[in-house]
C-alpha cells in the first residue's frame, strides 16, 4: 500500500518539477483544469488518477468519484498515444480502451509527454552561460558520438557474425537460398502437373 503511495508521490513530484521548467505547461493545464483522468496499464493492475488543475497535477491511486475519462492502455502503446492518427488504430487493435472523451486523451498525452524544456537556459541560470553552453554542446556531441558508435558496432557485429564466424547467412546468401526454394517450388509444381497428366492418360 505505502509502496504505491510512494510511487504516486514520486511520479507527482517528478511531473510537476518538469512542468515547472516548461513554460507551455501552464497553458496546457489551464485547458484541462478540473478534469480527472484515470489511467491504468494493462500489464500492471494499478490504476492512477490524474487530477489536473491550474496549479499542478495530483496523482492519486484511489478515487471513488466519476472520472472525466478512463484509459486502459498497454505499455507498448504508451508512446503512440500522442499521435492523433494512431489513436483509432490503437483502439482497433485493442491496445487502448477509452471511456469518455477521446479528445481529453490526446490533450492529456500531450501534457505529459510533449514538454518543451530548454535545459540549456535553465542550466545557464545556475552555472552561467559559458559553462551551460559548453556542457550542453559536449553532451550533444557525446550523444551523437554514441549513436554513430552504436551503429558502427552493430554493423561490425553483423559482419563478424555473417562473414567471419559464419554463424548466420548474409543477406545475399538468404536471397539466393530463397530464389533456389522458389525455383524448386515451380519445378515441383510442373512435375506434379506432368505426373497428373500422365496418370490421367493411363486411366
Amino acid at each position: 500500500m505505502s509502496l504505491t503511495n510512494l510511487l504516486c508521490g514520486l511520479l507527482e513530484t517528478g511531473v510537476n518539477q518538469l512542468h515547472q521548467l516548461d513554460s507551455s505547461a501552464v497553458i496546457k493545464r489551464k485547458q484541462l483544469n478540473g478534469t480527472i483522468i484515470g489511467v491504468s496499464l494493462k500489464e500492471l493492475d494499478i490504476p492512477l488518477y490524474f487530477v489536473i488543475s491550474d496549479q499542478q497535477i495530483d496523482v492519486l491511486n484511489k478515487f471513488e468519484g466519476q472520472t472525466d475519462c478512463t484509459i486502459r492502455v498497454s505499455f507498448s502503446a504508451l508512446k503512440q498515444l500522442q499521435d492523433n492518427h494512431q489513436l483509432t488504430n490503437l483502439i482497433k487493435s485493442g491496445e487502448l480502451e477509452v471511456e469518455g472523451d477521446i479528445q481529453l486523451v490526446q490533450q492529456f498525452a500531450n501534457l505529459l509527454t510533449d514538454m518543451k524544456i530548454d535545459w540549456e537556459e535553465h542550466l545557464s541560470q545556475k552555472v552561467g552561460d559559458v559553462v551551460a553552453h559548453k556542457f550542453c554542446y559536449h553532451t550533444k556531441q557525446l550523444f551523437k558520438g554514441a549513436v554513430t558508435q552504436s551503429k558502427a558496432i552493430e554493423k561490425q557485429a553483423a559482419l563478424y557474425i555473417t562473414e567471419e564466424a559464419k554463424l548466420a547467412p548474409s543477406g545475399l546468401e538468404v536471397a539466393y537460398f530463397c530464389d533456389q526454394v522458389n525455383t524448386l517450388e515451380t519445378e515441383t509444381d510442373k512435375l506434379l502437373l506432368k505426373l497428373d497428366e500422365k496418370l490421367n492418360q493411363q486411366s
Binding site: I36, N61, Q66
Partner: protein
C-alpha cells in the same frame, strides 16, 4: 480519555488544569508555526507526505463535496482537497491556533489556491458549523492536542453529513517492540535536539514526544469513535503503527 477527578488533564507527561492545556498547546504552536513544514520533513524524514497521501486515498472525496480539514495547520491536506473537489466544492481549513492558520493561509495563497477554500479559527470541541454539513472531515495530527477528545469527536459527528466520513490521522502505538525501542530513543533523545537545532525550541518537541505517548492507542481510539456514534470504524497502521489512520462513517 480518563480524567482525573479534580478537572486536570495531561500536557505531555505533566498534569495541568484543563483550562490551562489550551493555552499551553497554543504556545507550542505559536512557537513552531513558522518552521512547521521544514520540521515535519526533517523529523519524519519526509514520510509524513506518504501518510497524508494514504489519508487522501482513503477519503473517497470527489468533485463538489464539502470538506473540513480540522487542525489543518499549514494546509497540506487542504491544498490537495481543494484541487480534487474543484470549483463547485468547498474546503474549510480550521485550526484553533491563529499563527498556524496564518501560515497556512499565506502558504496556500502563494500556491494559487483560492476560491473554494475558507479559513476558520475554531475549537474542535465546539465546531461553529450547522448539523449535517460536511461530506468529509479530516483531523491530521491534531486530535492529540485537543483537551476533551470525546467532546471533539461528538462535535465532529454532529457536523458530518449522513454518509460522510471522518479520518483521524494520528501518532499511535508501534506494533513491534524493536520498533518501539528505536522510536522511543529517537523521540526522546534525537527529536528535541533537532527541534533545538532547527527551530530553536526543544520544549515544544519534547511536548510532541510526550503527547504522543499519552495519546490513546489504536483500539482505544476506535472504541472512542464508536462511543460517539461512528459506524464501520476501522484503522490502518502506517509505518508499523507509529502512525494510525482511523476511519469512521456516519450513517
Amino acid at each position: 480519555m480518563k480524567k482525573s477527578p479534580d478537572n486536570t488533564t495531561h500536557f505531555g507527561f505533566k498534569t495541568v488544569e484543563e483550562d490551562k492545556k489550551v493555552e499551553l498547546v497554543a504556545d507550542v504552536f505559536h512557537s513552531v508555526a513558522a518552521k512547521y513544514d521544514i520540521m515535519n520533513d526533517v523529523l519524519s524524514l519526509g514520510i509524513h507526505r506518504i501518510w497524508k497521501r494514504f489519508t487522501i486515498d482513503c477519503s473517497g472525496v470527489r468533485k463538489g463535496q464539502k470538506v473540513l480539514d480540522l487542525a489543518g495547520g499549514t494546509g497540506d491536506l487542504t491544498a490537495k482537497f481543494s484541487r480534487i473537489v474543484g470549483e463547485e466544492g468547498q474546503v474549510v481549513l480550521a485550526d484553533i491556533n491563529d499563527s498556524m492558520l496564518k501560515v497556512g493561509r499565506s502558504k496556500l495563497r502563494d500556491k494559487g489556491i483560492e476560491g473554494n477554500v475558507s479559513y476558520v479559527q475554531a475549537n474542535a470541541e465546539e465546531l461553529p458549523f450547522p448539523d449535517n454539513h460536511f461530506d468529509l472531515i479530516t483531523i491530521a495530527f491534531g486530535l492529540r492536542n485537543v483537551t476533551d477528545k470525546d467532546k471533539a469527536l461528538a462535535s465532529i459527528y454532529r457536523v458530518l453529513k449522513p454518509g460522510g466520513r471522518l479520518l483521524v490521522l494520528e501518532f499511535s502505538t508501534p506494533l513491534y517492540s524493536p520498533v518501539k525501542k528505536f522510536y522511543d530513543f529517537y523521540s526522546f533523545n534525537i527529536l528535541p535536539k533537532l527541534g533545538k537545532l532547527i527551530a530553536n525550541d526543544s520544549e515544544s518537541y519534547q511536548y510532541l514526544a510526550e503527547s504522543i505517548r499519552m495519546h490513546p492507542d489504536q483500539e482505544t481510539l476506535k472504541e472512542m469513535m464508536n462511543q460517539v456514534g461512528f459506524d464501520n470504524t476501522e484503522y490502518f497502521n502506517l509505518s508499523a503503527g507509529i502512525v494510525a489512520l482511523h476511519r469512521g462513517y456516519k450513517y
